[in-house]
């Protein structure tokens, strides 16, 4: 499989009154055509900022993208998303990369019919006329499983339930047959059964249309069922990237281990209480010249307080950013 997106060394900062926030400090990853990559991390780890940086969706100022590249490959060649101007990036947004946002109620315009909101992108990217647009919108609404699409197309967002609104959001993102869909915690605001439906719908559409999906979440539990690979982020840096089974079976970074331990377990004898990761959160205002996780890491040793760890490979597709080898319970000597 060929990569469709290669991001390397992405650096984004926010210049605020209180100081400079080092939101992203060199994020690198790649995305293969048709796969699902989950990005996991706590709030502030830079999951969403990474995606919004790629599509120039951050408010500038205060945000500034200060380095890196994001190569997007498709039939028409290769482009660096970070180098595009306003007009060029707007052709990519919605056309080749779709976006599903977290809270569909606030992410949809309350005073515009959902039909219009989907049609907007069709007009923009596919140049469809009025009648074609209408037909395609109804088709899309049916495809995402909205009953009575022909009538509901004229309804406003508040007239839909939460799950139905999220389906509309998916229709917006998929309208123009994009190559990549970025789903930014699309199920957080929904209850569990609806969550499952939305996950299933996304997977089904992904298979049908051959879309690569980047699924942002803070919930490792959701990841297991959907992702091919997982990227774990901490303090604006990727700390571990691995195929999903590999990650669950052999987590290599102390932070990932902590996240997995914090999951409520069904198999354990029920007596074990929830474990949380202790210690202070990272300081994004004045990032230290050492590992940001050292403050909370139970394995931290002297080197962790002196250097920022580089990425090391521990398997064919498994990379971590850590000086300590948790399997052999001693510092790595090959970095």
């Amino acid at each position: 499989m060929a990569p469709i997106l290669e991001v390397s060394d992405l650096v984004t900062r926010f210049y605020t009154f209180d100081g400079v926030v080092h939101a992203l400090n060199g994020v690198s990853f790649d995305l293969q055509a048709g796969e699902t990559l989950a990005i996991v991390g706590e709030s502030g780890s830079g999951k969403s900022v990474t995606m919004m940086s790629l599509l120039h969706l951050l408010p500038m100022p205060p945000a500034r993208i200060e380095g890196g590249s994001a190569l997007f490959h498709d039939d028409s060649g290769t482009i660096d998303l970070l180098k595009l101007n306003r007009a060029e990036i707007s052709r990519v947004r919605g056309g080749r990369i779709g976006f599903i946002f977290q809270d569909a109620l606030s992410a949809l315009n309350p005073v515009m019919t959902v039909g219009r909101q989907i049609a907007e992108s069709l007009e923009r990217h596919l140049g469809l006329g009025h009648e074609q647009c209408r037909r395609r919108v109804v088709e899309l609404l049916e495809k995402v499983g909205i009953p009575g699409a022909k009538q509901r197309y004229r309804n406003y967002p508040h007239q839909f339930s939460g799950g139905m609104r999220q389906r509309v959001m998916i229709a917006v993102a998929m309208a123009c047959n994009p190559k990549i869909v970025i789903a930014d915690e699309p199920t957080t605001a929904l209850d569990v059964t609806v969550q499952a439906q939305i996950v299933e719908l996304t997977q089904q559409l992904q298979r049908e249309l051959g879309i690569a999906v980047i699924w942002i979440t803070h919930d490792l539990g959701v990841v297991a069922g959907i992702a091919d690979r997982v990227l774990v982020m901490y303090a604006g840096r990727p700390v571990e990237i691995a195929p999903v089974d590999d990650l669950y079976d052999h987590p290599g970074h102390p932070y990932t281990i902590g996240l997995l331990e914090a999951l409520p377990r069904m198999d354990a004898a029920g007596s074990k209480r929830l474990i949380s990761i202790e210690g202070s959160p990272p300081d994004l205002m004045a990032p230290p010249a050492h590992c940001q996780f050292a403050w909370r890491c139970r394995y931290a040793f002297e080197r962790c307080w002196n250097e920022v760890p580089p990425q090391v490979s521990v398997g064919p597709q498994h990379h971590i950013t850590c000086f300590y080898d948790v399997n052999r319970e001693r510092p790595r000597d090959n970095v």
């Binding site: 599509l55 969706l57 408010p59 306003r86 007009a87 707007s90 052709r91 990519v92 947004r93 919605g94 056309g95 779709g98 976006f99 946002f101 809270d103 606030s106 992410a107 949809l108 315009n109 309350p110 005073v111 515009m112 907007e120 992108s121 923009r124 990217h125 309804n155 406003y156 508040h158 007239q159 917006v172």
Partner: protein
Amino acid sequence: MQRYILSRLFQSIMILFGVLFIIFFMLQATGDPVSLMVSRNASPEEIEAVREAMGFNRPLIVQFGDFIAGAVVGDFGDSLRHKQPAMDLILERLPATVELATTALFMAMLIGIPLGLLGGSNPGSLWDTLARGAGLIGQTIPNFWLALILIIVFAVKLGWLPAFGRETWQFLGITLPTRSVILPAFALGLFTMGQLVRFTRSAVMEIRSEDFVRTAYSKGLSDRQIYIRHILRNAAIPLISIIGVQFGYLLSGSIYIETICSWPGLGNLLAEAIGNRDFALVQAIAFFTSLVVVTLNLLTDIAYGLADPRIRYGD
């Protein structure tokens, strides 16, 4: 929507009853309303005569009942000074005030809304500075002083505009304003202009940072499309209520301007009535302006409900 309108209508009626209550008991609160109305050196016989004529010697509850009954059919008794029904005097003066307030509203909208849009969509730009400045000026220059200054500059020094009185001209039987309205309308409308600038600017700035605008960007729409379809349309809805409230303010707040510019409207009538201690007329004006303001608010709420699908298709 129907329930929404009915509940607003009910609220408006309750408010109007509250207004009648306040107006009636305000005069009683001082102890003896008659002493307010007669001159200081009136003889006891004269005072008694007025008391008799105004019906103040009856029990309070009877007076209040009468007052309400009269008010419902628009009868507030006769003006002491003019010896005419108070309501007739009000209706006679109403057109002048409507002309003044309407002109002021249009002037304010014409300047305020575009300036607010320009400022709000280019934060930190020259337009934004201008908009902030205009908003501040509207809020810090009292209209009674502005009117005086405008008269000094444009009427006395430059002689461009008439400063006092109202002139109209008749066209096909319709009474139309002349340039005599420009100066007082501008002075009256400045505050509203400032409010519209401030409101429009902040509405646009706020909506620009809404999630659905980010969604619109993520769909690849152009700045122009996003601006017109998503930002302006959403900003226009709350603007309806600001304009409604401001129109009420202009209709009921023209007392200074009308006094200064000898504009023969309701404000002028109110100032005269207070000068003459003609409290039946003051009461009638207070109720009438409240009626106008409450009705305007009701209409504004209905217009708002029609414009916002969340209310139009709500239950």
